[in-house]
Subunit: 341 residues, 4 copies
Amino acid sequence: MINVGIVGATGYAGEELIDILLRHPNVRIVNLSAKIDKPLSISEIFPRFKEKISLVCSEPDLKEIISKCDLVFLALPHTASMDIVPKLLAGGKKKVIDLSADYRLRDTKIYEFFYKTKQKDKTNLERAVYGLPELYREKIKKTYLVANPGCYPTAAILALAPAVSLDLVDLSSIIIDAKSGVTGAGRKIDAGFQFSEVNEDFKAYKVGLHQHGPEIDQELSNLSGEKINITFVPHLLPLSRGILETIYVKKAPSSKLQAPSLVSLYKKFYKKEPFVRVKDEGSFPRIKDVVGTNFCDIGIKDCGSNIIIISAIDNLLKGASGQAVQNMNIMYGFPENMGLI
Amino acid sequence: MINVGIVGATGYAGEELIDILLRHPNVRIVNLSAKIDKPLSISEIFPRFKEKISLVCSEPDLKEIISKCDLVFLALPHTASMDIVPKLLAGGKKKVIDLSADYRLRDTKIYEFFYKTKQKDKTNLERAVYGLPELYREKIKKTYLVANPGCYPTAAILALAPAVSLDLVDLSSIIIDAKSGVTGAGRKIDAGFQFSEVNEDFKAYKVGLHQHGPEIDQELSNLSGEKINITFVPHLLPLSRGILETIYVKKAPSSKLQAPSLVSLYKKFYKKEPFVRVKDEGSFPRIKDVVGTNFCDIGIKDCGSNIIIISAIDNLLKGASGQAVQNMNIMYGFPENMGLI
Amino acid sequence: MINVGIVGATGYAGEELIDILLRHPNVRIVNLSAKIDKPLSISEIFPRFKEKISLVCSEPDLKEIISKCDLVFLALPHTASMDIVPKLLAGGKKKVIDLSADYRLRDTKIYEFFYKTKQKDKTNLERAVYGLPELYREKIKKTYLVANPGCYPTAAILALAPAVSLDLVDLSSIIIDAKSGVTGAGRKIDAGFQFSEVNEDFKAYKVGLHQHGPEIDQELSNLSGEKINITFVPHLLPLSRGILETIYVKKAPSSKLQAPSLVSLYKKFYKKEPFVRVKDEGSFPRIKDVVGTNFCDIGIKDCGSNIIIISAIDNLLKGASGQAVQNMNIMYGFPENMGLI
Amino acid sequence: MINVGIVGATGYAGEELIDILLRHPNVRIVNLSAKIDKPLSISEIFPRFKEKISLVCSEPDLKEIISKCDLVFLALPHTASMDIVPKLLAGGKKKVIDLSADYRLRDTKIYEFFYKTKQKDKTNLERAVYGLPELYREKIKKTYLVANPGCYPTAAILALAPAVSLDLVDLSSIIIDAKSGVTGAGRKIDAGFQFSEVNEDFKAYKVGLHQHGPEIDQELSNLSGEKINITFVPHLLPLSRGILETIYVKKAPSSKLQAPSLVSLYKKFYKKEPFVRVKDEGSFPRIKDVVGTNFCDIGIKDCGSNIIIISAIDNLLKGASGQAVQNMNIMYGFPENMGLI
């Protein structure tokens, strides 16, 4: 039984963490905090939690968090985690899973370009492990600081990891056409996310400029050993939860794959993974099948010289809080799917 | 050919007015203004209007508005019209159709209670005509100032006017269960109207406290000659446009109506109205049938001692801008449906 | 550990039962069946269950069901359960929870009028217990056949039970304005439930003619000891899950309640109930707060001579499969919320 | 003033044609027909048209259609038009605009592969003009038979025509990631288009197999003079109307374009087109801006070696009935935007 705290408990990722952890048999939520005008019972903020949890949510009190919690989830806006992580890790005893982008990007210049702020904590940046279990499970087991991946990158990297690892693709040809539900943007009050703006609409945004592009580049480059620059266009779907990405790549000239073998290579690659499901030949993912689950579904079509790969996740689960709990389970040696079914 | 201006052109009602008036053969839009940081082409604000209209929208310049416009539509937030109307009407030559609540409520105490501000323009309040053509067409023809009705009141009053006028109902028994799409709240940036809050949700709000309650009371009391207090509960629908109201009344003890005669009495009452459609026996309105139109559809069921009346309108058309144009057509002697088909 | 089967596993209620029971620590799903062309893995029918359950769903084989299952959930279309229940109960050892209407209505004439078929199993009808735990928990503990309540009736009866039991209301005045998401109609292929028909629409249906009206009448009459005829108008919401009902009643002449006491009477009435949450004064339910939960939320407003009561449930959980599992928990002496959090 | 008939008046395209033509000053609708059990007033089928049009819709009576109509719109399911067109054109006096795919594909083998039926009317296939005014206006002026383009092809061809015509792209590299609202599939009753299936979901379908792929291939090949095979993946959006396509191409090796010049080349290419709007640099289309209009909005981003082109249309207007009326206007020498604003 471990004691956990959530900093940033009032956002979507925080809300989802509470929801998961209330069902986790080895976890006790002992502290909830957020940027908040005055302390409020969490069930006043989220009436759905009434009669399930009665903690009060207040401004983060680091001393109390450190004294009470074994592990802390940070579900804060980007650039806010850097101020807290060094303090939480100072004693060397706490574990932190940071859901922001602050410890994801190795190249601080890229971080600073996309997030418009200095990376102020290079010490911990070097120690942080990119929390994608399918690639870094062994490192996650041993780390004190997990940089939980972004939602788009999770779906993109899982879709491309087998093809890139196995040298199947022309690395210069990767195009990711990504579509996300509205919670992907976090709980912010914004003219662009008003119901009447999003409902019955669909559009691309940050075309070629989205901060998740370089995160995907970094991880695919790591996998391939070569510098990769993908083309990445995110779009906003008129629905609450879910991401689907349609990915187009050219086959590597050397590759001599046939259709059946591509699906089977993917199935083999992810055989032992509890949260990746590779679809059978001719079958493709849809958002409905993954919403409310921690699964990433992947479908592949071999089109001769091209490959089409489609992946889908729940942006708040495998794309954020579900993956964070999966990482916690790995860090503590719990069954990896505990609390996640 | 008349020249019109729209003050408050950037809200939903303003946008809808532009859309209608661009198709109106007897109208030229000559001035667009709104509370706005800097002047912007209206097609930058609403890209859907690109290549249809090229006016610039800036802060209202009353001098220019008065010099250029024959008629001015005010599509401003409540309490803002009172500052402008006296100036616009000062010369005695301009006509004004005010879409706010400022000139609707005869009883200034009620206005002040619900809108939290003084009614500052009692002179014009007395001259204003409540712009529901089905009840006040003759007065609208002659007035300089139309107080365009609220969206909920339009659907409620049209649904109840025949029954109340013909003494069919127990006036103390009127219950209005009203449901509106999100544009009913206007284009405001608000936590409660974010997509993820409204999508897949439904709820009542301002239970028994909505400002449209007394507006309905006032008009039904006028019709019946007695003081009426309705029970009014509005709800928020997860859709962009449309209002549907389900209304429950007891029959007046004196009433001896049979089912067929109730529908036929309604049909007779509205026989000459171009924008009220009474459904046949056993058939009821739905929002889909009225969205994009200026119609109010009404269905009636006689349940013995009770009557159920259901009415539906497009809140931005018959509930706001469409009705405003209908009023303009009446004021100028144009065919009443001009621009509205 | 008990072995359960689900007959009608391919509908919404069946799907939801699978989802809940997969998380229930004391249950093993051993048989899935439905009207189906050929046997199919349940994870082919519902890809979301892939890697969670691998049973095959085929036409119901009663022999096998009887030999394998301790308890059987029937999630069949209305009128189909009557053919199966007598066979399942014949041996006297099986327990059945029937989610259809077949064993809910005591008065077979009413059943036959609304469901257009004979009630063919009067023997079991007499033994069946109406599975609303808040009213019939003691009987549910002892029965072999639970008639699981309808979705609208669950929300309506829970909203009215305290007021009716405590003699607070004029029993002739009850008006229920009910709104349901689309899954309430079951998974049927129907022109009226096509996306483009329902999306951006809202309408009343079966006005005064819905089959859940007499079910509510029956239970409220039981509670009050008097014959009650409610006014019931259901509406179709453009969302997938959830019911909200706005209920209007007159106070009984004898009643001398004040606002604060009404809420507190409700809170007291439901104090020990694990799945009813009475909102504080001035606060009302919304669908979002109950979707995905087995809760019924209730809000009350005292309006002098009238009372407004609003209740909300997830139609597939407290309105169907969640309540069915709650009933199962009661029948077996499991903690009542097991598998339901 | 011309007299027109609509065959297939009960589908989405037929409904939309009625809606447009009711506002068209030079058109009288004189005949409505469809596959229908018994003759019904069109306002019973579509209550939104009540008090706007009172024609009866019955099974098509070709004799009557020929005697009454100058022009006939065929809004039938694919493969049904071929039976009617030869008869309608037999006299040599009628004009026909066919909204199906029957006369679009020059290569009958491709037609027969994708539509699973013989092309039975090769005579008229040769005379038919592909009704994309931006490419074939002069031919449309003179023809008696317009094959109105598909919705996906309209958005794709308009997006690519300038780049292909001006030799800017590597023709082997064209990838079209297309997303459509649900009305794109026509008004059919289908399990896959039930509200609860589509709502809150998003998925690709017919991956690499959609019948609009070869239609786009044909027209781009015509434009370039070379055989083009695009990669085309359509997706289903949870909204009623609108298409957005995100298109990825490599620049032709010879091309030396700079960012500003690409947008300006597009603006120049479409300068005189009444229904194509090229967005300014850095600005991209969204579905909301084109729904309810006949416009195709196009945005372009120059990414060095790649180009991203995004286009949006209302699938029922520029993608079907709006374009059909635009074609009619051209055929009769009416102003091209008559009835379409």
